[in-house]
Subunit: 431 residues, 2 copies
């Protein structure tokens, strides 16, 4: 038991040391010029390429270990690096270099009647910690977006990707050092014990923002235990509501895209809500079409009755858990609703404030839905799959916020900054 | 023991019931027109006046109880209501009615190349919970700012003000009902057991934002235990740094104002940092002047030596705790620093990211300080006392944020809103 406690203390010391170094580095990052940051991004890209052999060797270790541990193929694919994927990482770094630097933007100027000039100016957050899972490309993305916004990055990647991440960050440090930027600006937490997450998210005063990226379990754990500010990301139990006055061709294209184009991501649709006025005619058409694309359907009683009457059998009954589940898979829950009100009620009960869609040609119903549904992005006649920083023109994305504080929906560079007020006076005092 | 547990469960049920009602009310508040909200604010003012006798009677109960409990005079004064103070509350409500309504503001329009129109629109947070201490006027302020921004308000005031708050909220409900707004829009948590705070701040899905207002202990407790988003407010360990090239007349006016004009508030100065080049000449001048105004001085060794050599004796030695304390009282810590760098280091170690001041005629030193000191508001040649929503022209203030997420510094109406993206398409799907 004594040994356990001492190992615990060691981990705390290790993490806090890394965070303190990040904090100190963040001070010089905050005032770096855009040119220097862009040069560093270019050098980081070059350094990745120069280190490609070491990175691929390290990645092979991770992949072999994951295979031995019997990880599913999809997970191993997420972990796998190739020369081509290193090229993509490099392209990502160069793309971030091309984006406008938000730091220093003057957001507002207030002239006080007493002559003081008050400016609201965009500044970095300070230290941004990312807690994420297996993809090693997140390491590069997060480091790039933090550097561009003048933040120190604390990266706590998944255990499976540890060797890859160590090799990648070594290369990134090389790139930084060629521009005279302290390598402490990018901290990889190499000790991937479960508790190292807790030491990060409870380090009040050392961490300015935590962004968890990963499954619902990881996010829930971070939100539950964090004592520093967190942006909750990603859980998307998204709905497509097909209204009585829907153009059913659009409805078909949208639900097909939202469900099947990339089912494993947070902006994919999980539940189809169909107005009763169109359910009889449309469900026997769309459901077999989706099933042909490999989608498993779980239906409410009314949906099953309609489908059964039309000869579509063996539809599993959806239960309470189905309405609440983000499948991230080729499974779709289907519910017949009485009307728009019923659809909104369902979304309020089960939605995760991510992306919600109405398909209708009725402008009044559309505006009703758009104004009353509380979600980061609400769509009229378009697929939920567009909830994405690149689609929104941000040129980058650090995650998709499902909370309302600070940033909502896709987060790009601006969302990784704060602001401060700079007040210039001439001796003014308050009366 | 069984009884204790059941009392606990009861409290949870009570709080959750109130929160759920607030959540439901928040949905209709979100789409109220500005006119209706303004009418309700006017009716609330009138209702306060109509209920003044009941409010003053209830307040007398609270005041008598506080006196019996031996509360200090300052605290009783904060609790006390008079007809004049009710007038001030009414004026506050009418002032909020006159402010622009931020809800519905279009913050940005993005045209997607595929023809979708994406609008970023300001929306209410939903349910905003305020946790505060003795002043009953906060009840009226918070209710008004929440209503104007379309948020449901959950008000958890201090135990000492319970009767006053009950009487005030009854009047506010009267005002709401005259405009057809559900009284659930303003929820007073009447059970003021300590644990009711925890049930509020852990109600994920029912509370969108918690703003604690009060002493450091209250804020620390909320931040430590919250599982819903919090804006940390108010702790201000603010510094005035008097540089080698300061105009000492300005320095004198500024430190006098920042320390003595209203010492009990978060934007008052707590530590004076003096460059060694001016310390010998200036400290023997400013310190006795401040002492004449009733300020107790706690000095570093160098400051005490300088003062003692000039015949100013009996200055208490400042210790580590003094540098870290927000006195909120007529006490000032004084430190001689080597240079600007030393001043910035001190502020980094002990500051609370609230308001920091440099007094200098050296433009380079000023810009250095303004850009490198990390605080909500940084001042050049002006008093820290200006960190205030009204001084910033917001026309209202719900608190002063000392964190970097969402809102920083004074928070007005806009800071009580979030945004969502509304996307209008014509059947677009992602390729």
């Amino acid at each position: 038991m004594v040994e356990d406690i001492s190992a615990q203390l060691d981990l705390e010391t290790y993490v806090h040391q890394r965070l303190r170094r990040a904090k100190i580095a963040s001070r010089s990052l905050a005032t770096l010029s855009t040119d220097v940051k862009n040069m560093a991004l270019a050098q980081m890209a070059q350094a990745l390429w120069d280190a490609r052999e070491a990175i691929l060797t390290a990645n092979r270790e991770d992949v072999v270990a994951a295979q031995r541990a019997g990880q599913p193929a999809a997970r191993i694919d997420r972990l796998l690096l190739t020369e081509d994927r290193i090229h993509q990482m490099m392209a990502g770094l160069r793309q971030v270099a091309e984006l406008a630097d938000p730091v220093g933007d003057r957001l507002e100027v207030i002239e006080h009647p007493n002559g003081m000039r008050m400016e609201k100016v965009r500044v970095p957050m300070g230290v941004v910690a990312m807690i994420y899972e297996s993809r090693p490309n997140v390491t590069v993305d997060a480091a790039a977006l933090c550097l561009k916004t003048g933040n120190a990055a604390v990266l706590r990647g998944g255990r499976e990707a540890k060797s890859s991440n160590v090799a990648i960050v070594r290369a990134l440090h090389q790139g930084l050092s060629e521009c005279g930027i302290p390598s402490d600006a990018i901290q990889l937490i190499e000790r991937v014990e479960r508790d190292s997450v807790d030491w990060i998210i409870q380090a009040v005063g050392l961490v300015d923002l935590v962004i968890p990226r990963g499954g619902a379990g990881l996010i829930e754990r971070v939100v539950r235990n964090a004592r520093v500010p967190v942006i909750e990301t990603g859980v998307g139990n998204c709905h497509v509501y097909v209204d009585a006055f829907a153009d059913l061709a659009k409805a078909r294209a949208i639900i097909t895209n939202a469900k099947t184009q990339r089912p494993s991501v947070c902006n994919a649709a999980e539940t189809l809500l169909v107005h009763q006025a169109v359910a009889d005619a449309w469900l026997p058409d769309i459901v077999p079409a989706l099933m042909d694309l490999g989608v498993e359907i779980r239906g409410c009683e009314r949906a099953r009755d309609i489908l059964s009457a039309a000869g579509v059998e063996r539809i599993r009954m959806a239960d309470e858990a189905d309405w609440a589940t983000e499948y991230l898979d080729l499974i779709l829950a289907v519910k017949v609703v009485d009307d728009l009100e019923d659809a909104i009620d369902h979304i309020r009960r089960y939605g995760t404030l991510h992306s919600e869609v109405i398909v209708t040609e009725d402008a009044v119903a559309a505006e009703n839905f758009l104004s009353r549904v509380d979600a980061a992005v609400v769509y009229h006649n378009a697929s939920s799959r567009f909830t994405d920083g690149f689609e929104f023109g941000f040129g980058a994305e650090i995650g998709i916020s499902t909370q309302k504080l600070h940033a909502r929906g896709p987060m790009g560079l601006r969302e990784m900054t704060s602001y401060k007020y700079i007040v210039r006076g001439d001796g003014q005092v308050r009366g």
